[in-house]
């Protein structure tokens, strides 16, 4: 088992396993990954130094160590993370114990399971392409085992060819295989997972560095026109309760129950499809304000869309929204929520509100005054504000005057409440990058935003965005926050926008568009999508699906086998065909081989007729006899024969 043959197979196998497990570095505990890498490295060394392979006692110890590691990370051995880790460790330990060909097959099969487990963490187009490539290497390992002499190139080529030929049938099965949702009890939920995203509370004063993430939250495809940038507010959780520092959701009936009164809508309607990425929370970010939506969605008393299904997978929703609406009268509960203050405001605050006519003018006027104040005074928008642990609102308003959307929104709402105007903080996303290739909008974590909502007589809840007063470019222009130096403040520079319009950005958009289609048509192809898609072809039930599955697979098989066999039959007797070509070349010289004449006799006749070419005739005839009737002949003989026939040319001097 230490032949060079086996060594080559092992190198093949170990490399592909390294490639399969590598992306898991982000998914499994570092201790386990370290353990696996160590074992893999050990096995690599042992390819050349087999004496270093562990004995059974050491192997037992390693197995126990692996189990201890596993149990220290997980309480039970079910679920995605624990299952993945279990398979990776099993794969690693089995590597140290490869003795026969059977073991190699077992390891390869385990590697396929680990490859599938990668998809439980990441379903991007890139990952799929990567796994496909690694599958080629894994299959090439199997080809190598089954070859007598291993030629790396041939093995890889054969494996790739088989995989390419397998794709059409795989796609057909993918489309037609009935999708049934697994029963609830079979899904192992992971509880201790933290994800970046919008949270159900905010504490602006305690954040000194707002990280921006380019992680995708959702995509929107509009059926008709797209709303202008300043109307692209994607409504999320409403934070109405404050303790002076922290803003959070009220756990009242408004939150639990559904919308009390449906707003009346006016103006342009926008129809769109929202493709939400997997989320921790069941929030769905509809364009302010959603009007029509279908089954799993519901509108809370805070006019926030929530889904009643599992939000931990991608989902698609069809929604219609109106940017202009009137929510009408305020209920008692809403009023209480929207005017809640933790304690009596300080004199400094009261004085400030009085100064801006908060107590003696109409709400609209006070709002205008306050926004002007933000704009005129030395307020700055920054992602790295100073810490404001004590009295954050007062410090922000009177001392630091630096902050991001949460600071402005919370300060604004607080001042409104001091002036007895019902107000609350709304969080969500603002804007989104338009992908011209795929014609859709991409909204990322960096687009997270917080704004204020004020209730005004006869108008209902009205959106006010104090950040827009300070940094209008944040709202009206699409600023890519990544391009800004995080330490500096945002300054609007038109050149920056132009710089983004380069080819890199276009490439990026192309990729994002492909990814969108991938998510939409492949990753998100669930039972609903399947039913929709298939019904356009008139396939409605299980029976029809199975029928078409059979028909299409049979059809592809016929085409494929016709292709494979045709190639073979064409070359069924190339030796004879070449010889016939040679005879045809002699025809102009009056040499015609009769049916009864053997090749040898014919050659004798030809040699007499063409003495100058006797050598060539002799050689070709000898090769022909050898190839056609001889016991043993090699590929070289055939090539030489073919070349000689091709080169042969009648030179008749008359």
């Amino acid at each position: 088992m230490n032949s060079p043959h086996f060594k080559k197979i092992l190198i093949f196998l170990l490399s592909s396993i390294g490639l399969i497990v590598a992306p898991h570095i982000a998914n499994i505990p570092i201790a386990l990954f370290g353990f696996f890498s160590l074992v893999l490295g050990w096995r690599f060394v042992a390819v050349w130094r087999p004496q270093y392979l562990p004995r059974s006692r050491v192997l037992l110890f390693l197995t126990l160590l692996a189990l201890t590691l596993l149990l220290s990370q997980h309480k039970h051995l079910l679920g995605r993370d624990a299952g993945t880790n279990l398979f990776i460790l099993a794969l690693g330990l089995k590597l140290l114990e490869i003795k026969t060909e059977r073991d190699i097959y077992l390891v390869t099969y385990l590697a396929f399971i680990v490859a599938a487990s990668l998809f439980l963490y990441q379903q991007s187009l890139f990952m799929a392409a990567y796994i496909l490539a690694v599958c080629c290497v894994l299959f090439a390992t199997l080809v190598a085992i089954n070859s007598i002499e291993i030629q790396t190139r041939v093995a890889l080529k054969t494996a790739t060819l088989i995989i390419l030929q397998a794709i059409p049938i795989a796609v057909v099965i993918f489309i037609l295989f009935p999708r049934v949702e697994a029963p609830r009890w079979m899904i192992f939920e992971e509880k201790n997972k933290a994800k970046i995203g919008l949270s159900d509370s905010m504490e602006p004063g305690s954040i000194s560095d707002l990280g921006t993430s380019e992680e995708l939250v959702f995509r929107v495809k509009f059926t008709g026109a797209m709303p202008p940038l300043k109307q692209r507010y994607w409504r999320g959780p409403v934070l109405a309760h404050t303790d002076g520092k922290r803003w959070s959701q009220f756990n009242t009936q408004l939150f639990k129950g559904l919308a009390l009164t449906k707003p009346s809508y006016t103006g342009t309607a926008y129809q769109y499809t929202l493709l939400m990425e997997a989320q921790e929370k069941n929030w769905v970010f509809g364009l302010d304000m959603p009007e029509q939506f279908s089954a799993p969605l519901a509108l809370t008393g805070y006019y926030q869309l929530v889904t009643q299904e599992n939000s931990k997978k991608r989902a698609e929703y069809k929604i219609t929204s109106y940017p202009q609406y009137n929510t009408g009268e305020l209920t008692q509960v809403e009023y209480q929520d929207a005017t809640q203050l933790p304690r009596e405001p300080s004199d400094k605050i009261k004085q400030f509100v009085t100064q801006l006519h908060g107590f003696d003018s109409k709400p609209e006027e006070f709002i205008a005054q306050l926004l002007t104040h933000f704009r005129k005074e030395d307020f700055h928008y920054t992602l790295t504000p100073p810490l404001m642990e004590e009295n954050p609102i007062e410090s922000f308003l009177f001392t630091t005057k630096r902050g991001f959307c949460s600071h402005y929104a919370s300060a604004f709402v607080y001042l409104m409440r001091v002036a007895h105007i019902p107000a609350r903080v709304v969080t969500g996303y603002q804007g989104g990058e338009f992908n011209g290739v795929g014609n859709f909008l991409e909204v990322r974590q960096a687009n997270a935003h917080a704004w204020a909502e004020v209730w005004i007589e006869n108008q209902g809840w009205m959106r006010v965005d104090p950040t827009a007063a300070v940094a209008p470019e944040r709202i009206e222009q699409q600023l890519n926050l990544d391009l800004l130096e995080l330490g500096g403040e945002i300054r609007f520079d038109p050149n920056m926008i132009n710089q983004q319009q380069n080819w890199l950005k276009q490439m990026n958009q192309l990729w994002n568009s492909a990814d969108y289609q991938w998510q939409r048509w492949v990753v998100n192809y669930d039972s609903d999508n399947q039913a929709n898609f298939l019904s356009t072809f008139g396939i409605h039930d299980f029976k029809a699906m199975m029928k078409w599955l059979m028909i299409l697979v049979a059809l592809i098989t016929i085409l494929l086998s016709a292709f494979l066999l045709r190639k073979k039959q064409k070359s069924i007797a190339p030796v004879l065909r070449l010889y016939q070509r040679f005879c045809a070349k002699l025809k102009p010289a009056g040499l015609i081989r009769t049916n009864r004449e053997g090749a040898h006799d014919f050659a004798q006749r030809a040699k007499i007729a063409l003495p100058e070419q006797a050598d060539a005739i002799e050689q070709i005839t000898a090769d022909f006899i050898q190839l056609q009737y001889g016991r043993v002949s090699s590929r070289e003989d055939f090539v030489r024969f073919a070349k000689a026939v091709a080169k042969f040319k009648l030179t008749v001097h008359r």
């Binding site: 399971i113 007598i148 088989i162 192992f188 494929l560 190839l627 590929r635």
Partner: protein, 316 residues
């Protein structure tokens, strides 16, 4: 289109008994090739079931896609495995005659007239031979079979098989060739002198008899010398054991190997003894004749005679 492999025959009634016509080559086609999943193939099926369960529980479309890709690979491997056997042309070749208990060698000529290179082929008679075959090339392989019985030994069933490319399927084709080898009796191990048969006296031709009478000298007795030629008078005088030598170097000795005089309690043992005598006689360059119950071969020597005698022994 009528030869498509999806019509692969898994069990054809006369699949095993298909014979090559005399001296005709056999091309491996759909009708001759059988394909079944190998043990590894069944393991692969288990893998696919596990993967589809994972995909189902996590409702993960890419895991589904991977599973279906593997299933599709599994399916089309049938075609590829078929293709790594199909199109080969087999023909039987020469075979040498052997003694009982030795391995009879049968030549099989395998020709790959196609452009498909064969990376792993097995041909099996009693032992399995692995070989590769490049496109448009021929190979001759000698297969051995231990001769178990005297007489004609047919090659019987030769199986050519492959599990290339992935080892998930096993394609094989059992072929019966007509080529046969003649099996001579096993030469006896015990050395017994040539028999002194009365027949030798009675039947010796006139010429030979005359020649044999021309006494020309004495020679010290050697094992195998005819008892009849011992110079008893000299022996009686105490001068030692001498054999009378007769003139005519070629006809110096001539033995008749007679079935009835061979030791043994059954036919096989007697033939075995006769076989040993034939070998010894040929080696000693003695003229020998063979008498069997149904056949008599006049004394002679040389390889043609030798073979004639052995064949007569083999076919008795």
């Amino acid at each position: 289109m009528s030869r498509l492999p999806f019509k692969l025959r898994w069990s054809v009634p006369n699949f095993y008994t298909r014979k090559a016509l005399n001296s005709e080559s056999i091309t491996l086609t759909v009708r001759r090739i059988g394909i079944v999943p190998s043990k590894r193939g069944f393991g692969f099926m288990l893998l696919m079931i596990l993967l589809v369960l994972i995909a189902f529980v996590y409702n993960n479309n890419l895991a589904y896609l991977l599973t279906f890709l593997l299933a599709s690979v599994f399916f089309i491997t049938i075609l590829h495995t078929y293709n790594s056997l199909a199109g080969l042309v087999l023909k039987d070749g020469q075979c040498k005659n052997v003694f009982l208990g030795e391995a009879a060698g049968f030549d099989i000529h395998i020709h790959n007239p196609t452009a498909v290179e064969r990376f792993n082929l097995q041909i099996q008679l009693e032992k399995t031979e692995n070989f590769t075959l490049a496109a448009h090339s021929k190979i001759a392989i000698t297969l051995y079979k231990i001769a178990q019985k005297r007489g004609w030994q047919t090659i019987g069933k030769v199986t050519i098989s492959t599990s290339y490319p992935l080892g998930l399927f096993y394609a094989w084709s059992p072929i019966r060739f007509d080529s046969k080898a003649l099996v001579y009796p096993k030469p006896a191990t015990i050395e017994i002198p040539f028999p002194e048969t009365p027949l030798a006296d009675a039947e010796q031709g006139v010429n030979q008899k005359k020649g044999a009478d021309d006494f020309y000298g004495l020679q010290e007795y050697q094992a195998g010398d005819s008892i009849k030629h011992i110079h008893w008078k000299a022996f009686a005088k105490g001068q030692g054991l001498y054999s009378k030598q007769y003139s005519g170097a070629n006809n110096a000795t001539e033995v008749w190997l007679h079935y009835d005089y061979a030791a043994g309690h059954d036919t096989e043992q007697r033939l075995s003894q006769l076989c040993r005598w034939v070998i010894d006689a040929e080696r000693a360059d003695i003229r020998y004749g063979l008498v069997l119950p149904n056949l008599k071969i006049m004394p002679d020597r040389g390889s043609a005679h030798y073979r004639q005698c052995l064949e007569a022994l083999a076919l008795l």
